[in-house]
Symmetry: C2
Subunit: 464 residues, 2 copies
């Protein structure tokens, strides 16, 4: 419980209306998509960087942990208040401050919802590519903190590739600017990129400077069904070596397709053991040629069927196969562990085989789909936690999935981050001296370890 004098100070800083302590309110800020729940002592919704600076100074003086929070859609617990203290909700910092159409740069606040931002820039012919699945709800601050990805990243890169400047409040309460609106800049260390993906442990963002692109004129979708995952993986490499970088190169493995067949009436032939959903974008006049070229490249690789959308409605129908996955999986088992490993593109089939062996060993359904273009696989371990022993089996399976990933030169997370969910496994991937190096940076910048403690680094987790 917080000392009443601290509550009073928080009320003085942000106003009584923006400081919540009722249990019903606290519960709303106690979890994210991981469903791990930790109650904060208080939730504050500051108005601006100045208030955040004063809150951080107070928190430092009193050694109170502070947990910055966007929309709470994270998959690894990045925003959950594992040590109580203050949840710092950033929803009031929700303005798009400037869209510079001449220089293709926007300045926004962290609480802007990703899709709102995308739609706003698209209205003036511009384009912000990163498209995490949560984009209708998640905020740009959270996207930057976790370095969000999405299907379009194979062509366009991840969130950090678009963030060229920040205004941040440091753990000790300084308000500083990093980077700026220029396309190049090498004066001093690249703090912007250090903070992208640091999961809210190094700074609280208060402004984000984003690089934009001209919006592509058109896009075209095709769905290719393969008789094996190897054919699909070879197709991915062959397309890219054919000098075509599609906007998306999504794949569904055999077990995912089985779920879709069982749960929907979508037409997915039994012979299809892997599917690639491919989208290309650019000048309208070039797209037909691109899909024709892709068809020709993939044809020798065990293609069962190729469908090319000629209209937006047909395109939507092809996307249905991909969009039906979540609902289809729920019919297999009520609970799932969703990992987002990433391996070198060519190792996807090896990884799928490893996962199939793990699924067989533990007798758990594991279904895989994701972003084949960059080797980023969403591994869904389907269990019923109400069944005794299921959870333990799943946890063992996860460790083996990580082991397999690392054996293939991969990483435990392509886009979700470490948070609290992968922190216990951090030293499977990173050598101790790398973890020490990162902790040295954290400790230097947050000497009292009050900003989002308990995330990324396993030994930092403190009991509430």
């Amino acid at each position: 419980m917080l000392n009443p004098s601290i509550l009073e100070k928080l009320q003085q800083i942000s106003g009584k209306d923006h400081v919540l302590t009722d249990k019903a309110d606290l519960i709303c800020y106690s979890y994210d998509a991981t469903q791990r729940q930790f109650l904060p002592d208080v939730v504050v919704h500051p108005a601006d960087a100045d208030e955040i600076s004063r809150i951080m100074q107070l928190a430092n003086a009193e050694k109170i942990p502070v947990f910055p929070r966007g929309a709470g859609t994270g998959f690894t617990g990045g925003s959950v208040p594992v040590a109580g203290g203050i949840v710092l909700g950033l929803s009031r910092l929700d303005r798009i401050l400037e869209i510079d159409e001449e220089n293709l740069v926007a300045t926004i606040e962290p609480g802007v919802v990703t899709e709102d931002f995308q739609k706003t820039v698209e209205k003036v012919g511009l384009f912000y590519p990163p498209d995490p699945a949560s984009l209708k709800v998640s905020t740009m601050g959270g996207n930057v903190a976790e370095c969000a990805g999405g299907p379009r990243c194979v062509k366009y890169g991840v969130t950090k590739d678009y963030i060229i400047g920040l205004e941040i409040v440091t753990p000790t309460g300084d308000i500083i600017k990093t980077g700026g609106p220029t396309m190049k800049g090498v004066v001093g260390y690249d703090l912007t990129k250090l903070i992208c993906g640091s999961e809210g442990t190094l700074a609280i963002m208060t402004k984000i400077v984003v690089k934009l692109l001209p919006k592509p004129e058109a896009k075209k979708t095709m769905l290719v069904m393969f008789s094996s995952i190897d054919g699909a993986a070879q197709a991915v490499s062959a397309i890219i070596r054919g000098k075509i970088i599609p906007t998306t190169l999504e794949f569904l493995d055999a077990r995912t397709l089985e779920c879709v067949r069982n749960a929907t009436d979508l037409d997915v032939p039994e012979a299809a053991q892997a599917v690639l959903l491919i989208e290309v974008d650019g000048d309208r006049e070039f797209l037909d040629g691109q899909t024709r070229k892709i068809s020709a490249i993939v044809q020798p690789l065990g293609v069962v069927e190729t469908r090319i959308a000629e209209t937006p409605e047909e395109s939507e129908a092809l996307w249905q196969v991909r969009r039906s996955i979540s609902a289809s999986l729920r019919q297999v088992n009520p609970d799932k562990y969703n990992e987002d490993i990433c391996v070198p593109r060519s190792r996807v089939p090896d990884m799928i085989r490893k996962i199939e062996a793990i699924a067989d060993k533990y007798n758990i359904p594991i279904v895989n789909y994701g972003h084949a273009g960059d080797g980023n696989i969403h591994v869904n371990i389907m269990v019923d936690n109400a069944v005794p022993g299921e959870q333990e089996k799943a946890e063992k399976a996860i460790v083996e999935v990580f082991e397999g990933t690392l054996e293939l030169g991969g990483t435990m997370s392509g886009e979700h981050g470490v948070g609290i969910m992968k922190a216990p496994f951090l030293n499977m991937e990173l050598q101790d001296n790398v973890i020490d190096y990162m902790k040295t940076i954290k400790k230097a910048l947050d000497p009292n370890n009050i900003l989002n403690p308990g995330k990324i680094f396993p030994s930092d987790v403190r009991a509430h």
Copy 2:
């Protein structure tokens, strides 16, 4: 002078042949392209990360400064041994270790010459885009340390956009790995990007993991002459808004063109007050359409003449205008101060006008050219240092150029870095608390300040 016992230890680590102390040898490692000279006490050429680790442990124990060095082509003194001590030459780490054609990833050592690396990957149909002017001599380690740019960056981005992993030796002698061969990865802080552009102050690179692209099939060059710099700048914005991102968008201002006219017999009409050299690349069949589209877009903006190359020879002829600059400038004055400011693309004409006013005020020729596509201007202040007072005038002019840059939202360096040349001006661009934040990171990772001291931060410069 180094203690003889330390020399002996260095010889034990790297072998007598790789430890140089003759004055004639030391002189070779005492300067870079800035021509500022500082003699080291010793030059060591280690064979590998293990030797570097032992050298750093020794240097830490004895508090000896260490200056990592690639080819010494930097423009800001990044590699010069301002505090004596050890120059650590990385030329023996010069192997291309792996080119993974399936996953478009290469692993190389830092001493590989940039052009050699480019040619090697191009032989197998791959492409490493960053192209600093020094690429025939400069090494990949130096390119990463400074985050080198080049003409192709407007389309393809800068060095750091291609570096996805590193093996480094830390200032305290640990050998650690950052990032890896996957296209995505968000496990822990992005140390790779922190080290890119940190000018050799945070780590010594021993391996570099590079992301590659498929090599574009063809390219096409055009030269457009404008009656004003405003027309040229509007053309840059209009081309990009027209959904074409050329590979290069180089510009030459009126004073540069005057130098070229005076020094060469190239055909540059008097009416041309600004020139854009534009190159597009991609599928051969699309390039004619692209240059036609660009011609149509720029035509209303005061075009004096457009030349489009139909053959490689014609393309080479167009590039001659750009390539003749250095030799042409030398005829104006023997000495030059070469700054590489960067402003938001649309502010290039404002910046050129500011620079023209500064040139008039100090009565010094200042000629400008560079990468218009990303607002990165090479400002060449032409003086004769033998004339009393010229150098002082140039230094005052530089300060005013920086002031003007910052007023327009720009940065003092787009691609050359800070080094020793811009360190005295660092606090013009960065707030004190940003500099403190960076120094906190430096101090935490290099507690004895032995790795490349005197660079970036003004107060760190120590007398020899």
